[in-house]
């Protein structure tokens, strides 16, 4: 977990796992809100860049949450 996108992907997926049991819609809402509330802009920018580059490693709910968050931004 040394390089930054890997770490951020790991963190985002970790958030995703907490919300997973709440079903897709609430999960996507929960993940995007959490990242918006607690992540510094540079971290969000990096993960969006990773998303653009294919978003390897991101769980499906997390990917949806990030897409949703970027639309709002």
């Amino acid at each position: 977990m040394s390089s930054s996108p890997d770490k951020l992907v790991y963190m985002a997926n970790q958030i995703g796992k907490f919300f997973q049991s709440q079903g897709h819609d609430r999960s996507v809402q929960g993940i995007s809100e959490h990242i918006w509330k607690f992540w510094d802009p540079r971290m969000r920018k990096q993960i969006f860049a990773h998303l653009d580059a294919g978003g390897a490693g991101l769980e499906p709910d997390v990917r949806d949450a990030l897409l949703k968050l970027r639309q709002q931004a």
Partner: protein, 958 residues
């Protein structure tokens, strides 16, 4: 200023609401039923002579000095053991009483040395006072007979005489001065709950005996000081009093160690502390203390304190002592340069949970308003940030729900991942007192801690595998719901019913049953079911938890699971119940309240909220950034990546206390300017460019907020040795950076906090002086503060049940790392040990030891006391082993108080999903025999020694 004299009423206060009226010495007095005649008299202003009675312990009736006469009753009963009754007519002074008392005193004094002038208790001796009070003028028996006073009598060794026991570093036991009142024995039992002392022998042979006639240090004594405080003579005396003499004035202040927040009287001679004595009116500690607050304040004047500012260009250079102005200008130039080069967001700071609310508030203000970003965080990140998240999600506030007094109404105590006997000792004593009265105790902890088994306390212990908290707590919920033990009426009234139904269906799934989860948790399903039934049905149930809950990758989930348990059983919103995080450091609660987290302003309000942010902008006259900043672990990552280059750290040793030391070293080394503001050259300072000397809690005014949300005053008793209080240093640093903050006293800072923070609206220094302390919220609705929260309804409206799926940590054991390491604290040391290691407390704990089960030790050929190598995926270190079955096979344990051990070289980067609170409590490790320090330890030690060099001062030529 004068010495605060607290009234000793002789016996404890009665809690009865029924009142009784009687007559004492011709005056009618009305007191609660159950009050002793002695106490009733004292409340009316009449002090009946006494020796064995004191109001911290129950009446004993042994000294026969407090005799009174009661009309219509035969004899002369002891007033301490005789309760008041309606219509009694009591006389406290008569010819008969005078004669009896004088006779008793004469006997006492006939076996007591007459060295009053040179005695350490001179001026503070109850025996002396009572001899005066009864008018003793002569001792007819002489001193020739059998006695405990003289080493030799009639030229022979006196077998009754015992030498002083100087083994405890802080107090002396002089048996020759003992009057066997047994106040010390009872204080140890009733107040502290350790039962280390007893009276051995009978009659004339009666002696105070630590353990089985052991030394104090060799016995079970935990050096809390309760016995010393209770002793009416010089038998048990603080060594500082013996050395310095009696204090002449005292000031009430708040301990700067753990989150209990004990109130102390700092007893002074001029600017020298003579002793710290717990204050009976302190609402957190009620007159009790532990070895740290009572005795371990010597660090405040330790020779290693750095008193002059220092700077250096590179961390390889020796430090240069400079003037304050030079240091501020150097730091300001560096930070400005960094911001110009790397952008506004490339610097930040860390507030201290050891500093005052006012100081913490100023640091976050400097960062938000002065630096122009929100890169502010605090050490709560690495301890209780999941508490803030979990409790605000479920209940609506980021704090514990009760006051400590609440434990007196508790019937079932559930302790999860906490060891209050070591980490929150004064609360533990209060808790044990309640347990001895019959309350039940359940402990969920991988280790058999001191709480599990202690005198007259036996817990139902659920020893779980580290990292499986969520599975265990969800299984408890499973039992409560499926066995029909939920408090449906409470849930329907106070909580969101449809969320509850979702949650109930979730926890009811078979996969969450104790039987199904036992394979992961290692907890006996029968014991788990029993624990669930006791908690749900045993009356008032209160949960106390610590860092064993929060410092996991599922820390926040566990806090939520705890809140769910309290809601489903209706254990919220009245005395005796609740959810109570035991905070690690003195002001963790306060530093969180003061807006130390990057995403929220003081009072836990998100930085993106325009209305709140605009209030701060108006008050501070500056535009604030509306985006959350970096949290501590994110700062480290950003530093390594090259976008975060300057850090101001106040009163926090991130290098020693944060996980994965190598990662922290890499991050700090990458930064261009690290400013450390501290008492000592701590480990972080090895990588710093500016050192600003800090001040101790004795040297400044301010407030701390303890684990009960209780705001208490810290009062200055001496001039800062370094010249300035920390709040003044932050102001001057800000000024050098071009950001003016104008306050002439911390009270003005508190006024600003109150004006901007609704939960603090009613707080002011005047209010605190008047009430002693207040628990927030303190505002128009609760002008005297709020001891118990969520009465009648939750702060957020409806209590919110949230699903808590157990997700195993990615830190797994395997063939290479087959054991799980978990970490904790010991009573005598505090946090990274920067303070306590610089006191005599090292006699109890001179080094960190690795606790390992005999089975695991045997397999590896490790014997007790051997050096072992402890290796994880993150790093390795060495320390000595202690073989014990307190830990289960497969689990090892150590403390993190000593920098040469560097337990955090071992801990990993894994962290809580919601808050990035590090997973200190679970690390997969291997252990092997070792010959001594690892290469890393040697290299680290050399770097540290090199980095701490201070250049000799060269006089500049004119």
């Amino acid at each position: 200023m004068s010495l605060i004299q607290e009234t000793d009423f002789g016996t404890p206060k009665s809690k009865s609401e029924a009142m009784v009226t009687l007559t004492i010495d011709g005056n009618q007095i009305t007191v609660p039923e159950g009050t002793s005649i002695m106490r009733a008299a004292m409340e009316a202003g009449t002090q009946i002579p006494k020796l064995c009675a004191t109001d911290m312990v129950d009446a004993f009736g042994s000294c026969r000095l407090c005799l009174v006469e009661i009309e219509g009753r035969a004899g002369t009963p002891a007033s301490c053991t005789t309760p008041v009754m309606p219509g009694l007519v009591v006389h406290t002074q008569s010819e008969r009483l005078k004669k009896l008392r004088k006779g008793v005193m004469e006997l006492y004094i006939s076996d007591h040395p007459l060295d009053c002038l040179t005695c350490a208790a001179n001026g503070d001796c109850e025996l002396q006072d009572m001899a005066g009070a009864v008018g003793l003028r002569d001792v007819r028996y002489g001193y020739e007979g059998e006695n405990h006073v003289f080493a030799k009598s009639h030229g022979c060794e006196n077998d009754n005489w015992m030498p002083k026991d100087e083994s405890n570093p802080y107090f002396t036991y002089d048996p020759s001065k003992c009057i066997v009142c047994s106040r010390c024995v009872r204080a140890c039992e009733e107040v502290q709950g350790t039962f280390a002392l007893t009276i051995s022998g009978r009659g004339f042979d009666s002696r105070v005996s630590p353990g089985m006639n052991e030394s104090f240090l060799g016995s079970e004594c935990v050096s809390c000081g309760a016995c010393v405080q209770a002793c009416p003579t010089a038998t048990l005396t603080e060594k500082s009093v013996i050395e310095i003499g009696q204090p002449e004035h005292s000031v009430v202040t708040t301990c700067a160690y753990c989150g209990v927040g004990c109130a102390f009287k700092a007893e002074m001679r001029g600017e020298e502390v003579v002793r710290m004595v717990p204050w009976k009116d302190g609402k957190a500690n009620r007159g009790h203390s532990c070895v740290k607050g009572r005795f371990a304040w010597g660090y405040t004047t330790h020779k290693e304190r750095i008193l002059k500012p220092m700077i250096r260009e590179r961390i390889e250079d020796p430090w240069q002592e400079v003037s304050w102005d030079e240091a501020f200008n150097f730091a300001a130039a560096k930070f400005k340069g960094i911001q110009q080069k790397y952008g506004r967001d490339s610097v930040g700071g860390i507030t201290s949970s050891r500093c005052t609310n006012e100081e913490t508030y100023l640091v976050q203000k400097l960062i938000r308003a002065g630096f122009g970003n929100n890169n502010v965080d605090t050490c709560a990140r690495v301890c209780h940030s999941p508490t803030g998240y979990g409790l605000s999600q479920t209940f609506g506030t980021s704090a514990g729900t009760q006051d400590f007094d609440s434990v007196e109404d508790t019937d079932v105590v559930l302790i999860i991942g906490a060891n209050p006997a070591s980490a929150h000792p004064v609360f533990a004593s209060r808790l044990k007192k309640r347990l001895r009265q019959g309350a039940k105790l359940i402990v969920i902890d991988p280790r058999r801690t001191e709480m599990v088994e202690s005198p007259h306390v036996k817990a139902l212990h659920l020893p779980l595998m580290p990292g499986t908290n969520v599975a265990v707590l969800t299984a408890l919920a499973h039992v409560i719901v499926t066995e029909g033990l939920a408090n449906e009426a409470f849930v329907r009234e106070r909580c969101d019913w449809s969320e509850f139904e979702d949650w109930a269906a979730f926890v009811s799934q078979d996969k969450h049953s104790p039987e199904a989860t036992a394979i992961m948790t290692g907890v006996d399903p029968k014991a788990l079911r029993e624990a669930a039934r006791i908690y749900a049905t045993g009356g008032n149930g209160a949960i106390y938890y610590g860092l064993g809950v929060t410092e996991h990758s599922q820390g926040s989930t566990t806090v939520i699971a705890i809140a769910n348990l309290a809601m489903v059983t209706g254990n919220i919103g009245r005395p005796g119940v609740g959810v109570n995080p035991l905070r690690g450091q003195n002001n963790v609660q306060g530093s969180c309240d003061m807006g130390s987290f990057p995403h929220e302003l003081p009072g836990y309000r998100h930085i993106a909220g325009d209305a709140v942010r605009e209030q701060f902008e108006a008050m501070w006259n500056v535009k604030l950034n509306n985006e959350p900043g970096l949290r501590i672990p994110n700062m480290f990552d950003a530093a390594i990546e090259g976008s975060f280059m300057g850090l101001y750290v106040q009163g926090e040793d991130i290098l020693q206390s944060d996980p994965n030391t190598k990662h922290v070293v890499a991050a700090l080394s990458a930064m261009e300017c690290v400013i450390v503001h501290d008492l000592f050259l701590n480990e972080t300072a090895n990588y710093a460019h500016v050192f600003l000397p800090g001040s101790t809690f004795l040297e400044k005014d301010g407030t701390f907020t303890n684990a009960e949300r209780r705001i208490q005053r810290v009062r200055k008793v001496m001039t800062p040795l370094n010249g300035y209080a920390d709040w003044e240093v932050t102001i001057m640093l800000g000024k050098a950076m071009g950001f003016e903050m104008n306050y002439s006293h911390p009270s003005e800072i508190m006024d600003e906090i109150a004006a901007l923070t609704p939960t603090f609206a009613g707080v002011s220094y005047a209010r605190l002086d008047e009430l002693g302390s207040v628990q927030w919220p303190c505002n128009e609705k609760a002008p005297e503060g709020t001891p118990v929260m969520h009465i009648g309804g939750f702060v957020r409206g409806k209590g919110k049940f949230i699903l808590t799926e157990y997700i195993a940590t990615d830190e797994r054991t395997g063939p290479r790392y087959p054991l799980l390491l978990t970490t904790g604290r010991i009573l005598s040391q505090y946090n990274v040990g920067a303070q306590t290691r610089r006191t005599e407390n090292v006699v109890w704990h001179a080094e960190d030891r690795l606790e390992i089960h005999p089975h695991d030790a045997e397999q590896r050929g490790v014997r007790d006391g051997d050096w072992v190598r402890l290796t994880s995926r993150a790093g390795e270190t060495t320390l000595r082993a202690e073989i014990t079955d307190r830990v289960a096979p497969g689990v090892v344990y150590t403390t993190f108080h000593h920098p040469d051990t560097q337990a955090n070289v071992i801990t990993t980067d894994f962290s809580d999903w919601a808050t990035n609170c590090p997973e200190y409590k679970v690390t997969a490790v291997q252990i092997s025999p070792s010959n001594g320090p690892s290469d890393w330890q040697k290299a680290y030690d050399e770097q540290a020694r090199n980095s701490r060099r201070i250049a000799p001062i060269v006089e500049a030529a004119e």
